[in-house]
Symmetry: C2
Subunit: 323 residues, 2 copies
Amino acid sequence: MATASKTYLDLVNDCDRFPYDDPLASPSEHWSSIYRFYLPNDPRHHGLMLSSTVQKMLWTDDFLVNHQARTVHLDPKDTSDLSKSCTTALSKQVQVCIDAKDSFHVISGRHSEPYPIVGANYPVSLERYASTLFGIISRGAHLTAYTQTSEGLKIWVPRRSPKLFTYPNCLDTTVAGGISLEDPFECIVREADEEASLSEDLVRKNAVVCGCISYVGLNDARGGGEMGLIVPDIIYVYDLELPADIICQQNDEEVKEFTLMSIDEVKEGLARSEFKTNSAIVMIDFFLRHGIITVEDEPNYAEIVARIHRRLPLPTGPSKIVG
Amino acid sequence: MATASKTYLDLVNDCDRFPYDDPLASPSEHWSSIYRFYLPNDPRHHGLMLSSTVQKMLWTDDFLVNHQARTVHLDPKDTSDLSKSCTTALSKQVQVCIDAKDSFHVISGRHSEPYPIVGANYPVSLERYASTLFGIISRGAHLTAYTQTSEGLKIWVPRRSPKLFTYPNCLDTTVAGGISLEDPFECIVREADEEASLSEDLVRKNAVVCGCISYVGLNDARGGGEMGLIVPDIIYVYDLELPADIICQQNDEEVKEFTLMSIDEVKEGLARSEFKTNSAIVMIDFFLRHGIITVEDEPNYAEIVARIHRRLPLPTGPSKIVG
């Protein structure tokens, strides 16, 4: 890994890659080329699709594609229960992708767990792998376990298995998982046991939610699948202070090994770009919240904080009820 | 104070008031009517001025105003030392404002301490009151002092003096101050003694910087001065856990009294809109970082987090050195 040493801002730039537009200038190519994805009865778009995805997709008759307006509207025939008919229509579209000979790499012929469409006015879900094609918001939960030692604060850092499809061999957050149809906290409780052998009881009692980070990524080679897919992401961050006698141990095949790292060792791993792209910014957020990165030492402090809490260009909550 | 109960998002909306533009739509009136303020030899604008301010200002010949392009360029005659000549030119312009009969309310005929122009490529400063007219970034430091008690975590909350020009009688962060030509930490050490009688030694040892919040405000009636002035703001946030035997006491005329409030009491103060506008979001940030606001209970969690960490529409650091 003979890469140049990365600054914190470099790591943020690697993760939050979708460009920011100047409100006084014309829309950049990114904005003017994308298609917006809409649900029925909702004027807000819930996804940002690449033109190449829209062209390649073998659309079912549940969708209306308008190349002039650059929009894709989900328009199911049965409108009596939009929650059900939209979820079914999306499911059929995923099946078409799986059945197609020349399918999308990101789906790679497999089904995956349902992800809710965040911010929809009624519950709608779409399979995880396909959600990236539609450019809808994905959500994860990350937990950083740490211990106070005589040598200072140390962090439990896993190394990902070399066999993983995404980010093989990379360093990672102690515990991390994608959020399916569940509460973020339930996700982290489950994953903490599965990935790090941390008991449900311990995590329920001591894990604290400390905010969330958000960014708009563009899928890259390390992430697998089509390049350039737009990935608006929210990660809920949890801290868990562990007593010295509790250790993290791998419990499934996703993790190769755990190391209790000093802050300097974590900093070196970050500088060498060894962390999974979004786990690097979870670590940066931990450093910011614990005073490890300070205003006086980091010239890009305000820029880093704002960038890892990006306001996503998609709704994150239901429309206001007019009453 | 018989106002309706405010949600956390209402309080964020009261503070982060400058509108967000849709990159695919035409610039909103706010964006198309403002003037951008530039320093010499720097293509990035450092301030956002209201049209009414630009019209009313009696500009000295150090400034070039272009009503077509809606720009104001600082253009000092002496370019041998831009740091010095820009600061001097701005100082002369402030003096013109102070001397004018019909001056700006926000300056109210007085000089104030120098604020650096954040993100400039060379040190330039402008007096605090005038910085709001130029719409440059202002910076503050806020410290929340809290204590673990048998009844749970409690927070030291001051009530502002009824005699203050801005936000009289409002509840506030334990310690808060505007950052002049000093490091944020030095600001908070000084203010902690001046406002809350917290010793320098204690604060230096135990105060921890926990990130920053940022927003773009529009000056309102409670803030004094011209309405609608654009206030891009960065607040560095510090936590200070106090042992039970250390108490906060007023030490100057800005604070009326301190109360050690339970979380429920703070929540009630927030709901009644009793906090100073930006101190309310400092408290919300504290609640987020300490797991007091949770994802499961707050439907606008992600929106609130992103809004209080807004990426400012002005540079926060120097340009990249091309080398």
